[in-house]
């Protein structure tokens, strides 16, 4: 009796972690693993099939080569735009997060709410608002033309600038919040110790603040870069065909051209590219243990 009474809680305790992850695992299996397998299969269908006639599974690995040959410029552009947007987000977000975390005092919560405030409206509506702001007949373009900062026939909308700016605007909170979380944990006494040990403010940042906030930098850049690479709304609303990103190509392949095998192949290529880049990046950042 006593043996089983003592053993039962121990066995239950061992089972608890598995029970806790079970719902999440089931969800992932149904809504992630199954669709990914389906998408993988689709990417290997006969490219000559159609939605009305149906697709035959022909293991057409050639779909990948065709997709890459046709759309490599959009791939490169996506990586470039997303990389630029991520770098700008980091440059804007780090000082912002530092001030909120270390210097804002009683304004801290208000500032955090302001960072998150854009999320109260939909992604699409926010981007449409920027379309209005950057419009050729809008006040901003007019003002810049009057100040001779923009040529008389110059445009803000439908430029790479507009697309990258839209990405920065939409993903900045994803950069700021992880940075805030790691900078908020930073012990101010370590900064005093660094100053006491002959480190100027700049060197204190370089040798103490930055290394200790690397987990936030890595998390923030990943959360910004990954969705930005695959984004198509900014490029669609604020750009032109010449600024289209890989997300736009996939969008049109699935919904306009109805070329399912190619759309699936492009999606897989994008996934693979991101996976490789992220792996290399995390390795280089040397923060595996911190993540």
């Amino acid at each position: 009796m006593t043996v089983t009474a003592a053993a039962r809680p121990a066995r239950a305790a061992r089972r608890t972690p598995y029970l806790l992850i079970l719902p999440g695992l089931l969800w992932l299996a149904v809504f992630f693993a199954v669709p990914v397998v389906q998408l993988g299969a689709t990417s290997l269908y006969d490219p000559n099939g159609s939605l009305t006639d149906g697709y035959a599974m022909t293991w057409s690995f050639g779909n990948y080569a065709t997709a890459l040959a046709a759309y490599w410029p959009q791939f490169l552009r996506s990586l470039l735009y997303a990389g630029l947007a991520t770098a700008i987000c980091l440059a804007l977000g780090y000082p912002l997060a530092f001030v909120i975390a270390q210097r804002a005092g009683r304004w801290r919560n208000l500032l955090l709410i302001l960072v998150v405030a854009p999320f109260f409206t939909s992604f699409l509506v926010r981007t449409l608002a920027w379309k209005a702001i950057l419009a050729d007949t809008g006040w901003l373009a007019g003002l810049l033309r009057d100040l001779h900062l923009l040529a008389p026939d110059g445009r803000l909308l439908a430029t790479p600038f507009a697309v990258v700016m839209g990405l920065v605007y939409n993903f900045l909170p994803f950069m700021v919040l992880p940075l805030y979380a790691s900078l908020q944990r930073l012990d101010g006494r370590l900064l005093e110790a660094a100053a006491d040990l002959y480190a100027s403010p700049l060197r204190t940042f370089r040798h103490v603040t930055l290394p200790l906030s690397m987990p936030g930098v890595v998390a923030g850049t990943l959360l910004t870069f990954i969705p930005a690479v695959g984004d198509y709304i900014n490029a669609a609303l604020l750009g032109t065909v010449r600024t289209s990103m890989i997300g736009n190509v996939i969008d049109s392949a699935f919904l306009v051209r109805l070329d399912y095998p190619q759309a699936a192949a492009l999606s897989f290529l994008l996934m693979a590219a991101i996976l490789v880049l992220v792996t290399v990046y995390v390795r280089r950042a040397g923060t595996d243990e911190l993540l």
Partner: protein
């Protein structure tokens, strides 16, 4: 090496004056302790010396050089922080080398190794701070500051987080290291035993001011103020009036008893005085007949007794209600009265001292006799 000089150093936080026009000279190469209760301004003083706090007024000098306006990283002064503040992303060697690297010292590996040896951490250079015990972290913090050979090393309650055994050992070790490196140590602490164990000179701080400064024995044997008398150890302070200043002695009257003190042990300028005597300088006798000739005495009743191994602590209530603290060392030869027993408390007048008393102030003994219950004050 040069002296650390504070001139009229003042720090106010809004209405509150943390440090009040402090004048202090810490001689080069000395082990100096700033002793005081929490909130007395000792840590603020230290932080101003380090440059981490800006003085409201006053100057800080190293020898002839005014360093008041220098940023912390520009001062040849290092600090051992109470929290240690070790860099968690660097290993022990990286922590110790931090200051050397920032100053562009090239061959720091040998210096770091030598310093780790000095604090007896050789071989632990690759460990992360989180993998060390509290005592080891404390020594890393010490090595990290000392390796820079600062003109002054500031220690902010560095032993506060350690357990008693470790504290005792580190006290001895710190003193050894200070003697070995010969750097000026300014040690901030609220622990009077720690201050007396290690420091050559102790400054007792209270409410932003220095109450007394001197060698530990001077402070203990002949305190300047009632605060010092009861912060550095404990004292029985009886409210008394000076009645006679004779040749070589001063006589006082307390509660109709006449006591005397050598003239050299009188700090009371006016008639209102405190007659002070340390608990261990007070002896117990069974009856007045056994009091040695020349001793002053008062009869009383034992109201509290505790055995603490090295001795016995007694509280003896005098006829006027004040309880006197008595410490009888456990020599096996004294008189150890029972609780409630009638005793005579006596002391050698040469061991007593006289301090200034605010007119009207009553006896000051620790612990203070409890207020009689039910009687309005």
């Amino acid at each position: 090496m040069s002296d650390l000089v504070l001139q009229g150093l003042t720090k106010r936080f809004g209405e509150f004056t943390a440090v009040d026009a402090l004048d202090l000279t810490v001689p080069a190469g000395s082990f100096f302790a700033l002793l005081g209760p929490s909130g007395c301004g000792k840590t603020t003083t230290l932080r101003m010396a380090a440059g981490l706090e800006e003085p409201t007024a006053g100057r800080i000098l190293l020898g002839d050089r005014d360093i008041t306006g220098l940023r912390p990283h520009q001062r040849p002064v290092n600090t051992v922080f109470q929290s240690y503040a070790l860099f968690p992303h660097l290993d022990v060697a990286g922590n110790v080398a931090f200051g050397l690297r920032r100053r562009g010292v090239r061959d720091h590996a040998a210096e770091v190794a030598r310093m780790l040896e000095l604090v007896q951490l050789d071989g632990l250079g690759r460990r992360r701070p989180a993998q060390l015990s509290g005592g080891q972290q404390q020594r890393v913090a010490l090595a990290r500051a000392l390796v820079n050979r600062p003109q002054v090393l500031l220690l902010d309650e560095p032993l506060g987080a350690l357990d008693l055994t470790l504290t005792r050992r580190m006290q001895v070790e710190l003193k050894r290291i200070q003697t070995e490196v010969g750097i000026t140590f300014v040690h901030v602490t609220h622990d009077q035993e720690e201050a007396m164990t290690m420091a050559d000179t102790v400054a007792v701080m209270n409410a932003g001011r220095i109450e007394q400064l001197g060698r530990p024995a001077e402070l203990y044997e002949f305190p300047q103020t009632p605060f010092v008398a009861n912060f550095l150890g404990q004292s029985n302070l009886l409210a008394a009036e000076v009645v006679e200043r004779g040749a070589g002695y001063v006589a006082v009257r307390a509660y109709d008893n006449r006591y005397s003190v050598p003239a050299g042990r009188c700090r009371a300028a006016g008639p209102a005085a405190y007659l002070g005597v340390r608990p261990e300088k007070v002896h117990l006798a069974e009856a007045a007949a056994q009091v040695p000739a020349g001793h002053d005495s008062v009869a009383g009743v034992v109201t509290d007794w505790s055995y603490v191994g090295v001795g016995n602590r007694y509280l003896v209530r005098a006829p006027w209600g004040t309880e006197l603290a008595v410490f009888s060392p456990n020599t096996g030869e004294g008189y150890y009265p029972p609780l409630g027993g009638e005793v005579v408390v006596h002391w050698d007048p040469a061991h007593a001292f006289l301090l200034d008393r605010e007119p009207g102030a009553g006896d000051a003994t620790t612990p203070v006799a409890p207020e009689p219950t039910g009687v309005p004050a």
